[in-house]
């Protein structure tokens, strides 16, 4: 039983990171229609923003986290101007390949600036553990689950209770109509990228202490985030969360109870199964709407 709780919490912690990466991906997709293959590199940049502020600049916690997220917000805006605007009239596939190219640029830029050695990002909850019915849980893992919950609640408020968030949803649903209604569409689109980058930053800062920071960490995260969005439902925020947690849990529980060699086949197998049986995922949009 203790082992089961242990696996459950570890699965949830890992799943929370996938969920945050998936949310950033979903926000961009629903607002701009872009499938962002650089999503994993966004998370990697988030971690390295933390490396810069926490390790290189030695700033105190709150300042360092704030500065790292500010860097990410700037990066999101920069991405909007230099990548999204020039590419937005391209076909789906042009945009996919475009974001892949950006991913290659980001990864190699990081390699040139930070080198290939991994970093150990500190955590304010450094190495403390709590005993939960025989299971030993790191407080950082609990913190990750907590922060994710807070972020999700904040996003809910943003999208349902604020005019900016409602505007973003309007742009996502129908860009032309939103324009006619007098919304500043470009500003809202830019905001989607900024938000996605900041969320990736949060994910990056939280996983740095758990997984180490290295410049090649992006792609594996993106893969899991894709699986999460499909399972949860393409373009759905609650779906991204459920999908992320599901992938995290299936990884850890699958390795324990099915086969550690084939555990990734479980999440991707389920992803393909979902696509075939219920392509809209658990919470997703109706598939006819988009194609």
């Amino acid at each position: 039983m203790a082992d089961f709780i242990q696996l459950l919490v570890n699965g949830l912690a890992i799943g929370s990171v996938y969920a945050l990466a998936a949310i950033g991906f979903v926000i961009v997709y629903s607002a701009t229609g872009v499938v962002n293959f650089a999503a994993g590199q966004f998370v990697m940049f988030g971690t390295f923003a933390g490396v810069v502020t926490l390790i290189n600049a030695q700033l105190p916690w709150s300042v360092a986290y704030g500065a790292a997220l500010a860097i990410m917000a700037l990066f999101g805006a920069l991405f909007f101007i230099t990548v999204y605007l020039p590419l937005r009239r391209g076909s789906i596939v042009t945009i996919i390949i475009g974001t892949v190219a950006v991913g290659i640029i980001m990864q190699n830029a990081a390699l040139l600036s930070f080198g290939s050695w991994p970093f150990r990002l500190p955590s304010p909850l450094e190495d403390r553990v709590v005993n939960l019915g025989g299971a030993i849980i790191s407080t950082h893992a609990l913190g990750v689950v907590g922060v994710t919950t807070l972020m999700v609640a904040g996003l809910w408020v943003l999208f349902n209770r604020t005019s900016v968030g409602i505007g973003m949803r309007a742009v996502a649903q129908d860009l032309q109509a939103a324009k006619l209604m007098g919304l500043k569409v470009n500003r809202l689109l830019a905001l989607s990228w900024v938000l996605a980058a900041v969320l990736a930053g949060v994910a990056g800062l939280m996983l740095g202490p758990m997984w180490f920071a290295d410049v090649n960490m992006g792609d594996p995260i993106a893969l899991k985030a894709f699986a999460a969005t499909i399972i949860g439902g393409f373009g759905s925020l609650p779906g991204a969360i459920v999908g992320g947690l599901f992938v995290g849990l299936s990884e850890v529980l699958g390795a324990s109870y099915v086969s550690s060699a084939y555990k990734d086949l479980i999440s991707f197998g389920i992803m393909i199964l979902f696509l075939l049986v219920r392509p809209q995922g658990v919470f997703g949009e109706k598939i006819q709407d988009r194609g």
Binding site: S91, G98, F226, I230
Partner: protein
């Protein structure tokens, strides 16, 4: 009938000329380009003609390559026998996979095929009994006609060019045929196609299986060229590269597929003098092509054509889509 023959002839003549002047290192890159071009022409059936976004093309290349590798090394078959067997097996698997999968469209199909490619990697890395796991399969025999071994970049380029010419000519013929037009009709408007009596499912599966067949041919060539296959040669990143080759070259065209394959094979090698920064510049250049040449290299040719059309009408032969 003229365009396919012209394409095949152009490939053989140009390829032959290039082969006679280049040193071996460039010949190797040309071989790799030709192999990729075969795969990318295949991808063009699925994506360029039928509009199916596949991010799992490398898995079919891998199935062809592994098929040949297993049949020749473990079962001791001749490559000449193993090749058709591997291609047929891949085609059958593609039909089997395509049937349920092709109900999906757009991003959904893209991510489903991506999942397929990841699954292929996991299976080939762990099914050690069949695939040798991550160690891969080495010592694949050389292709030979009688006692003449088709090894070495020069001789292999002959094989690769002939294959490419045949595949390109067949693709051009298909493009001009009723089947080709059906595929493009499905790409442009699925519901309208259905209304005029096109069996959309059949057309899609045909396109998908054709694309897998080309992929398997490329896979067999790959296995015979490198004579070593491992799971990491067929990851989803390779699938994305194939798609990028098609987009950079110019989607929907055979010439574009070939140009894209050549450019994206040579570009990173040309940039090697930049040291560790070369991949950064590779990404930047790719992004610039997408932004400034949205219709790919072929589009660049088209843009320049109005001036050259009167003087050189034969250039349009290179782009069959314009003549049909």
């Amino acid at each position: 009938m003229r365009a396919p023959l012209a394409i095949a002839a152009a490939i053989l003549v140009l390829g032959g000329l290039i082969a006679s002047v280049l040193p071996e290192y460039y010949l190797r890159l040309f071989n790799l380009s030709a192999i990729s071009a075969v795969a990318v022409i295949g991808l063009n059936f699925a994506f360029g003609y039928a509009g199916l976004i596949s991010l799992g093309h490398a898995a079919f290349v891998g199935m062809g390559a592994y098929g040949l590798a297993i049949l020749t090394t473990a079962w001791g078959w001749s490559p000449w026998l193993a090749m058709p067997a591997a291609i047929a097996t891949t085609a059958a698997l593609a039909a089997l996979i395509g049937y349920p999968l092709l109900r999906l469209r757009g991003h959904y199909l893209a991510l489903a095929t991506l999942g397929l490619n990841v699954s292929f990697y996991i299976v080939t890395s762990n099914w050690i009994g069949l695939t040798g796991g991550t160690n891969g399969i080495a010592r694949i025999p050389e292709l030979a006609i009688g006692s003449l071994a088709l090894s070495g970049e020069h001789r292999f380029l002959c094989v690769a060019l002939v294959t490419l010419a045949v595949v390109a000519a067949l693709a051009a013929m298909l493009h001009a045929s009723r089947h080709g037009r059906e595929m493009m009709a499905v790409r442009d408007d699925e519901i309208a196609s259905e209304m005029i009596g096109i069996d959309v499912t059949r057309v899609k599966i045909t396109a998908f299986v054709l694309s897998a067949i080309c992929a398997a041919v490329a896979g067999c060539l790959f296995a015979l060229h490198v004579r070593f296959v491992a799971p990491e040669d067929f990851t989803y990143a390779h699938s994305i590269t194939y798609l990028a080759m098609l987009i950079v070259g110019g989607e929907g065209t055979i010439v574009g597929a070939i140009l894209g394959a050549i450019l994206l094979t040579f570009l990173p090698e040309w940039l090697r003098f930049l040291g560790t920064a070369y991949l950064l510049f590779f990404g930047l250049l790719m992004l610039c092509i997408l932004v400034f040449l949205p219709t790919g290299l072929v589009g660049l040719g088209r843009r320049m054509r109005p001036r050259s059309r009167k003087t050189a009408p034969s250039t349009s032969v290179g782009v069959p889509e314009m003549t049909s």
